[in-house]
Amino acid sequence: MRELTYNEAAVEAVAEEMRRDPKIFYMSTDALPPLLKEFGAERVRATPITEAALTGMAIGAAGCGFRPIVDWRQVTFCFVAMDQIVNQAAKIHYMFGGQVSFPILYRAAVGGGGLVAAQHSQSPYSMFMNVAGLKMFLPSTPYDIKGLLKTAIRDNNPVISFESSRLMARKGPVPEEDYTIPFGKADIKREGNDVTVVALAWLVHEALAAAEELAREGISVEVVDPRTLVPLDAETIRNSVQKTGRLVIADEAGPTAGFSAEVAAVIAEDAATFARLKAPVKRVCALQVPIPYSPVLENHVFPDRNRIIDGIREVLRGRRSAEAA
């Protein structure tokens, strides 16, 4: 199968959908050259640096029958549009009794690794998960981002596509033919029996590397990639933990009230899963500080495969003696 980068797969998803549906148009502070070339300046709009206006205009255009895409570029730029996201986009369908739908895609790059310091290295998706009325996802592969973006563009609700900065240039197989990936469907990226690692985006790859390394020691790691944050595929996560009895959650965001906390709650609240836990849940997250600039500091703040391995060893501690008893 041919290979595309994560970013190429994303652009291809948008282009294919724009070819399919003339109601789709694209707004961002710089027009993406391949889209501009194919679709022209009417449908691929370079805008003023006006995220609040763009975010709100998408709502109005969607309510009038269009299917806008707003590319915030980096998630950090959307904070000036929080009223439009939280008070308007998330609520307008429900608050008006469902009288019309608002099909909108917002795109935002998240995550660190670029040594661009606190304002450009954020992973704040849990802030948005907390707001009722928004769907969102965070893919880890070119295949997933293409399929999820196509689903998002065809969805009749505001959807946020969080896209990992670290993965933009990463290649992976992407079929030529049309496909979509449904929301709320996790993907088991590697099957295993001893411990479940639920990881997002770049940390899916770190978890896979950790699993590979631990396999040499006879430790069998299952890596679950939720892909969609809202709706979250709790069932797949619970089933995996029921099988392994141990859970490590790896997230590039901080732990406090985060995605990792939500996954831990999904496990703890479910009697059948809770009963099968053989060890406390372990979270492997960024430290709860703004992301610093210097490589020494940034590397220390973010989790990686080594910390995932440490986390796995922690939940496995005492395994032999417990199982012998």
Partner: protein, 326 residues
């Protein structure tokens, strides 16, 4: 001094009067029912400002779109919303415009181009600018109107949207209802310039100040702006100087620091009384005509209240419906 009547047939001028009076009577009833505990939450009355909504909406076609503010009943009625469904919404019933999920601050009727009242000051300006962009892309000559207050004119979205609408020549009317107070704070204390319309210069678009209690002045300014928008020349900022007669909200004990003399002076310039006087002088409107108009409006309101009261409340389970569109 009221403006000369525009080139509108007498029955349309009488319709303007009827709509203004409907807004007033609707809100008098809403206020009374709110104080009686039949309407919940919060109610913001538009009384005194009716000429702005009706004057502007008279210049629009049904397919044109508007957005409103937290003080939204007037815009709904001016655009042709159904009184029954409005009242049912205030009463929190299933049959309301929002199935009882919105209340006074969130009435919308997309079917008539009323894109909603909005509980956030300046919250609707960007949304309706998107409707203006949609109208431009549709290419059928539609326009979109943002109603907002003097308070919103100090918020970021006002400036962002004027710039983008001017740059893209969007078919927009930005109608500032300057009632001189943002909640309890005087506009004079929060605006460096006395005229919001003067800010249009900074965006290279026309800025017009009109007497917002003079419905013909409002209508004529809106009409010119609509023509300009429909012909692809871009947006206009219209500032309507007006006054809200009642406190910021209908809550009992709501502080109202405004000078009573100021309020009385504005009440003497009642937009409804002014139009009534003019139509009595210039058309065949007489006592009988006024009485019949009042009777019809009160009957429609009684029917709306009866409809609301007879309508079921939502079931508790309906709280989870419409969370997402299918």
């Amino acid at each position: 001094m009221q403006s000369l009547s525009p080139n509108l047939p007498p029955e349309e001028q009488r319709e303007m009067l009827r709509r203004m009076l409907t807004i007033r009577r609707f809100e008098e009833r809403a206020s009374a029912d709110y104080l009686a505990g039949k309407i919940y939450g919060v109610v913001h009355c538009y009384i005194g400002e009716e000429a702005v909504a009706v004057g502007v909406c008279t210049a629009l076609e049904r397919g044109d779109r508007i957005i409103s503010t937290h003080r939204g009943h007037g815009h709904c009625i001016a655009k042709g919303a159904d009184l029954n469904r409005m009242m049912a919404e205030l009463y929190g019933r299933q049959t309301g415009y929002c199935k009882g999920k919105g209340g006074s601050m969130h009435i919308a009727d997309f079917g008539i181009g009323m894109l909603g009242a909005n509980g956030i000051v300046a919250g609707g300006i960007a949304i309706v600018t998107g409707a203006g962009l949609a109208a431009q892309m549709e290419g059928k000559g539609g326009v979109a109107v943002s109603f907002f207050g003097d308070g919103a004119s100090n918020a970021g979205p006002f400036h962002e949207c004027l710039n983008i609408a001017a740059t893209w020549k969007l078919p927009m009317l930005y109608v500032c209802e300057n009632n001189m107070y943002a909640a309890q704070t005087a506009a004079a204390a929060t605006h460096a310039l006395s005229d919001v319309a003067a800010r249009a210069t900074g965006y290279g678009i026309p800025g017009v100040v009109v007497d917002g209690n003079d419905i013909f002045a409002v209508y004529q300014a809106a009409n010119r702006a609509v023509e300009r928008a429909r012909s692809g020349q871009g947006p206009t900022l219209i500032e309507c100087k007006t006054y809200r007669w009642r406190a910021h909200t209908e809550r009992r004990g709501q502080p109202d620091p405004r000078d009573p003399g100021e309020r009385e002076a504005w009440m003497r310039r009642d937009p409804i009384a002014q139009l009534e006087r003019q139509l009595r002088e210039q058309s065949d409107l007489d006592d009988a005509g006024m009485e019949s108009m009042e009777r019809d409006i009160m009957a429609a309101l009684e029917a709306a209240v009866a409809f609301a009261e007879a309508s079921p409340f939502p079931t508790p389970e309906q709280a989870t419906e419409d969370a997402f569109a299918a």
